[in-house]
């Protein structure tokens, strides 16, 4: 506890840095996954390929991806952009499947009714299917946000600052409170973001009991 209090400014900085890596990745994963899932559902033969293919991205060990990605891209390793891309890829691995399932789960009766009322396909997607898939999408997004927050720390091995730096530094110098604080704060961040998402679901989707599952 004393160690934490003594290092509070650094921990605060690391927390902010952590969020700056995680949040864009979560957002990007979501924004990419929805159209990919849409396409997967539209073109059925593509679905299995897209959904399983992106799902397997999760099998890529996180550490090598963080290192290999910039080599493949030819950008600087320490560029936070690489980390965000890597995290986005892991986010996609989870999000594409849940987004595809979410969009697929929209009641066919409602879909039929909205077509019959004269919704154009695009309008139907944005004003009917997307909001109705909302609760299931939110459930997927919550998993992505939790796992991303926890994955960010691996990038500390490359020297990208995040709460993970508390692990690498604590590991080298044998400071248990540093590692413990890192674990605890990561969990707290994940929990807070999750609560935020639940609250957002309640506000944005008042029709769904509990806003999400």
């Amino acid at each position: 506890m004393e160690w934490i209090l003594n290092n509070l400014p650094r921990i605060t900085d690391l927390t902010v840095a952590h969020l700056l890596l995680a949040l864009p990745a979560v957002a990007a994963a979501f924004l990419i996954a929805v159209p990919v899932a849409w396409a997967a559902n539209r073109v059925r033969p593509l679905r299995e390929v897209l959904v399983s293919g992106t799902g397997l991205l999760y099998a890529i060990p996180s550490l090598p991806l963080f290192i290999v990605l910039p080599i493949i891209l030819g950008t600087g390793v320490r560029d936070t952009f690489n980390v965000i891309v890597a995290l986005t890829i892991f986010g996609l691995a989870l999000m594409v499947r849940s987004a595809a399932d979410a969009l697929d789960s929209v009641d066919s009766g409602v879909r039929l009714a909205s077509t019959a009322m004269g919704y154009s396909p695009a309008k139907r997607f944005f004003s009917v299917e997307l909001p109705l898939a909302g609760p299931a999408l939110l459930a997927g997004l919550r998993v992505v946000s939790v796992s991303t927050i926890s994955l960010v720390s691996v990038s500390a091995v490359l020297g990208v600052q995040s709460l993970g730096s508390l692990f690498t530094d604590g590991f080298e110098r044998g400071i248990v409170p540093s590692i413990a604080a890192g674990i605890l704060l990561t969990a707290v961040l994940a929990l807070l973001l999750d609560l935020l998402l639940i609250a957002a679901g309640r506000v944005l989707m008042p029709w769904s009991p509990g806003g999400g599952r």
Partner: protein, 304 residues
């Protein structure tokens, strides 16, 4: 069969999503750090607490001399920061003579500190220079417990060859292929060791493995206070298998003579005991690098 297209899609997606829009951020980064004309000096450090403390010492000394300093600490790999040094994005970086030389030229010969420092000058990229090297080294060393040394009458690495049991060594995984590693030991000393890789760079786990008897030998850096604290014995490297790793600042052309003089002043007092003290202080107080650096500089009377 079904999984093949899936896997291909995965890889394609990986490359696809990775390619989009990488450049804007990068140019941003360059713009932020490339302001050459200001007097501000950018100081970097490796992701290693001891290195970061030295960088912090440099920073505080330069600040004390009235320079503007920007800290870019805990950068992971040489691949990352050497190009940044070359491009002028970083101006000062605490390095170690042997490893830097070996990075720049993998075929570099081992030898005494002077010759390695001289060799280093040959391979340094244009625009980069080193200042004086310190007496302090932080180099790979073969360490055993006092009991084990006594039991087997060990003082040098070569003595390991006489030990009549299977020996293993805890070290980072690169020990497998590095010249001073498994192969080099076998070739130079006729010592056969099995590697138990522990990725904490001679940190608490490596030490623990040695003390617990999981391994007989450990690769612990010579500036690690744990060696003294645990009464460990460093086996003498009589054939200079290990490259000397004297602490040396790499500087860019942006660093003026006045600043160089200030840094050299630090280099001249940074001997082995000083580095050990610094590392020990850091581990016992668990203070931040800035606090440790300040403590040491004040102790040396180098801040006014």
């Amino acid at each position: 069969m079904r999984m093949y297209p899936a896997a291909c899609a995965g890889i394609a997606l990986l490359t696809l999503s990775a390619c989009g829009g990488g450049d804007p951020l990068e140019t941003d980064d360059d713009a932020a750090t490339d302001d050459g004309d200001s007097a501000e000096l950018v100081i970097g450090s490796q992701q290693y607490y001891s290195n970061t403390i030295i960088a912090e010492i440099y920073a505080q000394v330069l600040e004390n001399e009235g320079h503007e300093v920007q800290r870019e600490f805990e950068i992971g790999q040489r691949e990352v920061y050497i190009p940044e040094l070359e491009s002028g994005a970083i101006d000062v970086f605490p390095e170690y003579t042997g490893n830097l030389a070996a990075y720049l030229d993998p075929d570099i010969d081992s030898g005494d500190p002077d010759s390695v420092h001289a060799d280093l000058q040959e391979v340094l990229p244009e625009g980069l220079e080193t200042l004086d090297y310190a007496d302090a080294t932080d180099q790979d060393s073969y360490v055993v417990t006092a009991e084990f040394a006594e039991e087997n009458d060990l003082t040098t690495v070569a003595d390991l060859a006489e030990v009549d049991e299977d020996l293993s060594i805890a070290a980072n995984s690169e020990f497998e292929t590095r010249p001073y590693g498994i192969g080099g030991l076998s070739e130079t000393y006729g010592v056969e060791l099995t590697l138990v890789p522990v990725e904490d760079s001679g940190g608490p786990l490596t030490l623990g493995a040695l003390l617990d008897g999981d391994v007989e030998v450990a690769n612990i850096y010579s500036a690690d206070p744990a060696i003294e604290d645990n009464d460990l014995v460093i086996l003498e490297d009589t054939e200079s298998l290990v490259l000397p790793q004297n602490v040396v600042p790499v500087v860019s052309e942006n660093v003026d003579d006045e600043a160089r003089a200030a840094l050299n002043e630090v280099q001249n007092v940074l001997d082995q005991q000083a580095l050990l003290d610094i590392n020990a202080h850091s581990q016992s107080t668990q203070d931040s690098p800035a606090d440790v650096a300040q403590w040491w500089l004040e102790d040396q009377g180098m801040l006014d």
